[in-house]
């Protein structure tokens, strides 16, 4: 029998449906793989019983001849930013340690309804703030990848680092991620997997611990474009409980997948040729252009003139929203409470939040509080909002000349854990190519393009028009077919 853990979403779903193996066999295999991969620290908690129960339900349905759902029999990892009923949900923060929601996020509920089960809650950067998965209260996540000839633990990217590590290590066929300024795409690129952030509003934010509400968007992470299309279809949909949810039908992305790009124009933004970008990244970008041309697309040069302002604007808007969104963690109703002897309310707030939040979270709360303060609001927040509008307009203008955009996902490949800890600005630069699409709310995907000379994965990014995930997925598929990326990290854990 094949090693079930080598299979992706589609292969598992189809195999279960056709009776090649049972959902329970799949769940048991992945539960075992998860249990044997503790060194990656990809999971904060594991939930083997959840995976088994979901699998049994699917097997029972099959026995009765019922439909199994788009994710029928597929066990997945759930980023620990999604509230899961009765299962600890922490956002990787001490301040929520032990918190068990009495509700289920819309996205996870949708996935369970589609027949998926949960292997566990995946580690992440604390409150999704980070690009290396080093800010989690529950420890760093290690990438399964290593630089050739070294044993240094590498970053799986962030904030969805548990997700990328688990999927790349084949201890989960797929995982949920969330992307605020690259948190799906950058880790996907670092670990040689696919990840798509859909149009803002496609996936409900209800029940997802908020980082920056106007940017947060959930999406799938998996090892193929097809698997992402399937899983995104199961996650997305209008939700009346989220006022920013898109009131649109969910297209059949999987069914419409088409790698023939004839008639498509792909834009190459000149502003993405930035100083400090790896040679290997530039080379893979060139390679990507050729692949898309081979697939029938026309390549056009475009300009997104406000690109260089996007990252600074992002690091004003996202912390501003976060400083407000995280005010609810105050020790009053749930989560950590630190009440020193004789303390009053203000003392309790200070002690609880000082103890509960990690350094990066505090840094961003401070930045956000500062930029919203009287006297600074116009100079920072308002100015950043104007830039956000200009960045969106850049894309709007570009669509006159192209249908989608090809760019690198990140300026570098993965780096060793700990190497950027003293340099938050360089860390923030990881998202320089990812942030513009986030500010504009556009669908964007990272697909593996190859390995760099150190043997580390590189990703290519596709950005599409609002609501046009299909073109993004189609171009992703064209690259996937030509890149033939079938590298897997060598097991060391």
């Amino acid at each position: 029998m094949t090693d079930l853990t080598s299979l992706g979403v589609k292969a598992i779903r189809d195999g279960v449906a056709s009776g090649d193996f049972t959902a329970r066999e799949v769940a048991e295999s992945f539960n075992a793989a998860v249990a044997s991969a503790a060194e990656l620290n990809a999971f904060i908690v594991t939930t083997p019983d959840h995976a088994l129960a979901a699998a049994d339900a699917v097997d029972a349905k099959r026995a009765k001849g019922e439909a199994l759902g788009a994710m029928g029999g597929v066990p997945i990892g759930m980023k620990d930013l999604f509230a899961t009923h009765g299962v600890q949900t922490t956002a990787a923060s001490h301040i929520l340690e032990g918190f068990q929601p009495q509700y289920e996020s819309t996205v996870s509920r949708n996935l369970w309804s589609a027949g998926a089960g949960m292997l566990g809650k995946l580690n992440l950067d604390q409150f999704a703030m980070g690009s290396s998965n080093e800010t989690s209260y529950f420890g760093n996540v290690a990438s399964p990848w290593r630089r050739e000839g070294t044993n240094a633990a590498m970053s799986p990217g962030g904030s969805s680092g548990g997700s990328s590590s688990a999927v790349a290590a084949r201890i989960a066929p797929a995982a949920t991620g969330t992307d605020t300024g690259g948190s799906i795409r950058q880790p996907a690129a670092f670990t040689g997997i696919c990840g798509i952030k859909p149009t803002y509003g496609r996936c409900s934010r209800w029940g997802v611990v908020a980082f920056a509400s106007s940017l947060d968007q959930a999406g799938p992470m998996a090892r193929s474009v097809e698997d992402c299309a399937i899983m995104l279809g199961a996650m997305a949909g209008f939700d009346a409980k989220d006022a920013t949810s898109l009131k649109m039908d969910v297209p059949d992305w999987e069914g419409a997948l088409n790698a023939d790009l004839k008639g498509k124009r792909v834009g190459i933004p000149k502003e993405y040729r930035m100083d400090g970008t790896d040679e290997a990244i530039i080379a893979s970008w060139e390679q990507g252009k050729q692949w898309l041309k081979d697939a029938g697309a026309e390549i056009v040069d475009i300009s997104l003139p406000h690109t260089k302002y996007a990252l600074p604007a992002y690091y004003i808007i996202a912390p501003a929203e976060a400083s407000s969104n995280l005010a609810r963690y105050d020790g009053v109703r749930y989560g950590l409470r630190d009440l020193p002897e004789g303390a009053g309310l203000q003392d309790m707030y200070a002690a609880t939040r000082a103890e509960g939040f990690g350094d990066e979270v505090k840094r961003r709360i401070l930045i956000g509080t500062y930029v919203l303060s009287a006297g600074f609001y116009d100079a920072y927040y308002n100015q950043a909002q104007k830039i956000r509008t200009l960045v969106s307009q850049d894309f709007e203008k570009a669509w006159a000349d192209c249908d989608l955009i090809l760019a690198p996902t990140t300026p570098t490949a993965s780096f060793p854990l700990g190497s950027l800890n003293d340099d938050p600005l360089t860390m923030y630069l990881n998202d320089v190519f990812a942030v513009p699409a986030s500010l504009a709310g556009l669908p964007a995907m990272s697909v593996p393009a190859g390995l760099n000379p150190d043997g580390l994965p590189l990703g290519l990014q596709l950005v599409g028009k609002a609501f046009d995930e299909q073109s993004v997925l189609d171009a992703g598929l064209a690259i996937q077919q030509r890149a033939g990326f079938d590298h897997a990290p060598e097991r060391w854990w």
Binding site: R205, V209, A210, D242, A243, T244, D330, V332
Partner: protein
């Protein structure tokens, strides 16, 4: 012009007042969640996941709350902003689960409007005055802290957390406690007419932040203080009196008024500092990223407008012009929703019972409703069961009186019995003998006997002593045991005395 002045050592001071009234929107559920809003429930029994600000919870605007605020704006003739937006007001407090209040700072739902307060010599408002309203915005209420549940800890009740409020901000247009009192009463009346707020100040459905400053007449505005959460008309007026006098004292003794937030102490009728300007929060307002801008469609606005009832000013003018009521009666009858509702029901029933047009009986009904009926009810005290006083029964009494079947005194007696026993007026009049005699035969007989027995007075009357007419009337009524129709008695007496 208000002539209200504070007499200081250095001369007269004028008071400048602006009010921010927080009115709880009448709706079954909260502004951004489905939780119930009923008053008086067990603590924390009406709290949704959103109200408790659980991780990942999101606000969704309640269309009914928006509708009520729009209708209120229309009722004060205000500009309705078809594009508005919610902002977050950030501060930490234990009764504020989100750590911010969702409000509207930059783009409120309702823009400038106005409200008329009427002249009232008794309270010191010499003439009608229009008070400007700057804006109405909608926002969430906070929860409530309870300090009396535990010796060393405070408890939190989140039932109110997230309840919809309208903040109605006046211009600094008021110049006396009386004007401010009239403004709050008028605003309350409009809210209750519209049905957008129950106006119940005791339950906290309406409360005011009172901004007061003083100046020498004609000079620039002085520095103002804001006294928070004042929950009755009387207290609003007390706050203004106290604050104005305090500020004059401060200024005249060489000090300066601090721009600060103050609290009203009901027990002493004084205000004291709550927090000074230096301690003022920096609320870090910014657009709520969980919510899209609120865009109102023309159809929605048309529905809001079509659903507005006749408002107090229009109703008062109609009562005067069409029903011919005195300005006093018109104002009294239109001040409260319950009063005009009872009046209009009774007016309709009475017109039907008598078979005349409403205009013809309006004054009679108004006098009954404002003076006669309340007098009888008051005199009976606990014996009166007002539920017995249906419109039909009162209309029946008024109809009998209109037809001359009963006198005014009999009407009151019948109404007393109605209130005590709930019997029908016609039956009471018959059974209790509470009817006027209009039978000319019986009255004539009585008159003839009286004239015969008082020949001397008849002579005096005929000799020019007109005043004796009243004596004959009195004697006749006495002989008829007060049940004779006075009009018939008068007519017959005149005939017989020549």
């Amino acid at each position: 012009m208000s002539n209200y002045r504070i007499q200081g050592a250095t001369g007269e001071w004028e008071v400048v007042i602006g009010l921010e009234v927080h009115a709880q929107v009448t709706s079954k559920s909260k502004l951004f969640s489905g939780a119930n809003t009923e008053f008086g429930a067990e603590p924390n029994s009406q709290v949704s996941l959103v109200d408790a600000a659980m991780p990942g919870m999101l606000p969704v605007p309640n269309a009914e709350c928006i509708r009520q605020a729009v209708r209120t704006g229309m009722a004060i003739e205000a500009q309705i902003n078809k594009w508005s937006r919610f902002d977050r007001k950030n501060y930490f407090y234990a009764d504020l689960p989100q750590g911010y209040q969702i409000s509207q700072l930059y783009h409120p739902l309702v823009g400038e409007g106005q409200l008329l307060i009427e002249a009232d010599e008794k309270t010191g408002i010499p003439e009608d005055k229009v008070i400007g309203i700057e804006r109405i915005h909608v926002e969430q209420d906070a929860g409530k802290l309870m300090h009396d549940q535990h010796p060393t800890m405070s408890y939190v009740d989140l039932n109110r957390s997230g309840v919809a409020l309208m903040e109605i901000v006046s211009m600094p247009d008021m110049r006396s406690p009386a004007e401010a009192g009239a403004y709050v009463r008028k605003l309350r009346s409009i809210l209750r007419y519209v049905g957008s707020c129950d106006g119940n100040m005791e339950e906290g459905s309406m409360r005011a932040d009172v901004n007061v400053s003083v100046r020498k007449p004609g000079e620039e505005f002085g520095t103002r203080t804001e006294t928070k959460n004042v929950n009755s008309v009387r207290f609003v007026m007390q706050v203004i009196e106290y604050e104005a006098n305090r500020q004059v004292d401060v200024l005249e003794s060489g000090g300066t008024v601090d721009q600060e937030t103050r609290l009203f102490d009901v027990a002493t009728g004084t205000t004291r500092t709550m927090r000074s300007k230096e301690d003022a929060h920096d609320y870090r307002y910014f657009p709520d990223p969980d919510l899209l801008p609120l865009v109102l469609e023309d159809d929605f606005l048309a529905d809001c407008r079509a659903s507005l009832p006749e408002l107090p000013d229009a109703k008062r003018r109609r009562y005067e012009k069409e029903l011919g009521l005195t300005p006093y009666n018109a104002r009294e009858l239109t001040a409260e929703v319950e009063t005009f509702a009872r009046f209009e029901t009774l007016l309709s029933a009475t017109a039907t019972a008598i078979g005349k047009d409403e205009k013809k009986v309006a004054t009679q009904v108004a006098n009954w409703a404002l003076s006669v009926a309340p007098g009888v009810i008051k005199s009976l005290g606990d014996e009166a069961n007002v539920e017995h006083a249906t419109a039909e029964r009162q209309a029946s009494i008024l109809a009998m009186q209109d037809k001359g079947e009963i006198s005014g005194g009999q009407a009151k007696e019948i109404f007393e019995i109605v209130l005590k026993e709930g019997r029908e007026p016609a039956e009471i009049a018959d059974t209790e003998g509470l009817k006027q005699v209009s039978d000319t035969g019986a009255i004539e007989a009585a008159i003839d006997e009286i004239l015969a027995n008082n020949q001397d007075k008849v002579e005096q009357y005929k000799g020019g002593k007109d005043k004796l007419f009243g004596f004959f009337v009195g004697q006749t009524m006495k002989a008829m045991q007060g049940k004779a129709n006075p009009a018939v008695v008068n007519q017959l007496l005149k005939e017989k005395l020549g």
